[in-house]
Amino acid sequence: MIYAGILAAGLGVRMHRQDMPKQFLLLGEKPIIIHTLEQFTVNPNIEKILIIVPEEWKLYAEDMLSQYDFMGKEYAVISGGVNKTESIDISVCYIDETWQIQDGDMLIAHDAIRPFITQRLIDEHIATVKKHGAANTAIVTNDAILVSKNGASLDEVPSHEHLYAEQTPQSYSLAKLKELLGTGVPLHKESEFPRLWLKAGYEMRLVQGEYFNMKIINPYDLEVAEALLKERNA
């Protein structure tokens, strides 16, 4: 079974001009999260969809999602955790309790606020997890990355050739995820799940991302995303 986990538990504090989480804001004529969900809904390999939202926005999300066509696919709205790592843990528990995790099952976890995800990315993630157990999305950075411990002075300039920017999806074998989470790793202290994964000794392969697979986290991003969609319609 291939599950999509749409990570929408952020409260969007950076999108200061709005009074609701950024994933529910409109991009064109639809909420951002709907654009994202549609890509998973139409992918024939995705069988079930979990939508992980903030506890206080769960009812709103259920109301909104009830108006959209999931093309017959089963979906569930659940409350997320304090960070992405906890949200993944909650998703794994929900899947196991509701549907029971089987060998070969996988979770494709994707930020709700990256609506420009492509079918190619989803398909490559599925193929990579089948072969290697986990996949992350990476893109070469155009800018050099600087390290500063105090935010005022430069400490390090890592070599550009080994640096990539991380995007989503991040995808995992659910059996391995369950195994890792069963060891009691400290989830609330770690916001980046791939770091936990690597620390535990698992392999994680990279899938080539897309520059346009952008994250809409501030008003500028939303303007860029709206501009991308303003091309004359076909």
């Binding site: 004529e29 139409v42 024939p44 346009f212 076909a234």
Partner: protein, 336 residues
């Protein structure tokens, strides 16, 4: 739903654009599987159309010959995963054949073609097929040939089935093949100039080189599939070889006007018929012919010069550049 469209912005410059796909209750959401590059696409890609035409029609996604897979049929009639042939003609209301109506729109000719990751078409513009056989990508070009045959049948003045097909390219191949399928006992002479290309027309009665026509050879009806600068020469030769009261079907596209000896037309009482594109009924007939005629399917397969898998935007350029070098069709396996 956000989809991606690959538009020709200028000569040899294709850019990906994001755009919202609008679906209605009659929509079928599809993703393309196979595409075939047409000479018309190539004329835009290489900038061989007139400057004002390029200015007017671009940016525009190319490709009007394609098959696809149903992602979702909002009317519930086609199951997900069903393979379909995509119909490029958006028919306007009116009388006569839809491909000649003023308001009709045609994909990759002023309107976006099929070079996209997925898109919605109305139900009447997808034709279900039983499998993903690559030859269904030639349904469009075959439907053009079948449109020409039905027009010919409506206008012919004599019963004799001695056909001459001018042109040894892809259109000439498909026109000759369609004639062979519809008239199994007919004499079909293919007039070409390149031995390498003519050899592929094994189903023809005889391949004839335009500079070495046997004396006393006559034909009853002609199909001109040359186009461009060669069409004038071809029409001149047709007028010489065609029997009185024959029909000349023109299919070759020419950017410029050509000289035609009208005295010959008058003397022989000829009918000249223009043919452009095809309508929904021609598409259904083409799909039926491929499905039911094993020979048609087998010969169409050898029309492929090269298959290019497109996984990146760079692969699109590669496919179009290779197509210039290929004698016959370049097929794109679309994996974007």
């Amino acid at each position: 739903m956000i989809g991606r469209i690959y538009r020709l912005m200028d000569t040899k410059r294709i850019e990906m654009k994001q755009r919202e796909i609008k679906c209605t209750g009659d929509s079928v959401l599809v993703k393309p599987n196979y595409m075939a590059i047409c000479a018309a696409d190539q004329r835009y890609y290489l900038g061989k159309r007139k400057k004002e035409v390029m200015r007017e029609k671009l940016p525009m996604a190319l490709i009007h010959e394609a098959t696809g897979t149903v992602i979702h049929d909002y009317s519930g009639r086609l199951e997900n995963g069903k393979k379909v042939v995509l119909v490029p003609l958006e028919a306007a209301e009116g009388n006569g054949k839809a491909n000649y109506r003023a308001g009709s729109k045609f994909a990759s000719s002023g309107y976006d073609g099929f070079m996209r990751d997925m898109f919605a078409l109305p139900h009447n513009r997808v034709i279900p097929v039983e499998n993903d056989s690559v030859v269904y990508v030639f349904s469009e070009i075959l439907s053009v040939a079948l449109n020409a045959i039905s027009t010919f049948e409506a206008t012919r003045q004599t019963d004799s089935d001695v056909f001459g097909v001018w042109g040894d390219g892809s259109m000439g191949f498909v026109m000759s093949l369609a004639l062979r399928c519809k008239y199994p006992d007919a004499k079909i002479y293919v007039f070409g100039k390149t031995a390498r290309k003519s050899r592929k027309f094994s189903f023809a009665t005889k391949n004839i080189y335009i500079d070495n026509v046997p004396p006393n050879l006559t034909i009853s009806h002609a199909f001109e599939c040359v186009g461009n600068a060669g069409s004038e020469v071809a029409i001149r030769q047709i007028l010489k070889l065609i029997s009185p009261q024959g029909t000349i079907c023109l299919l070759g596209v020419n950017e410029d006007a050509v000289l035609i000896n009208t005295r010959k037309i008058l003397e022989k009482g000829l009918v000249i018929v223009g043919n452009n594109r095809s309508d929904e009924a021609d598409f259904h007939e083409a799909v039926k012919l491929i499905r039911e005629n094993e020979l048609c399917k087998k010969y169409l397969r050898i029309l492929i010069s090269e298959t290019v898998e497109v996984k990146t935007e760079d692969d699109i350029y590669y496919a179009f550049d290779q197509d210039v070098l290929n004698d016959f069709k370049t097929v794109i396996k679309w994996s974007l």
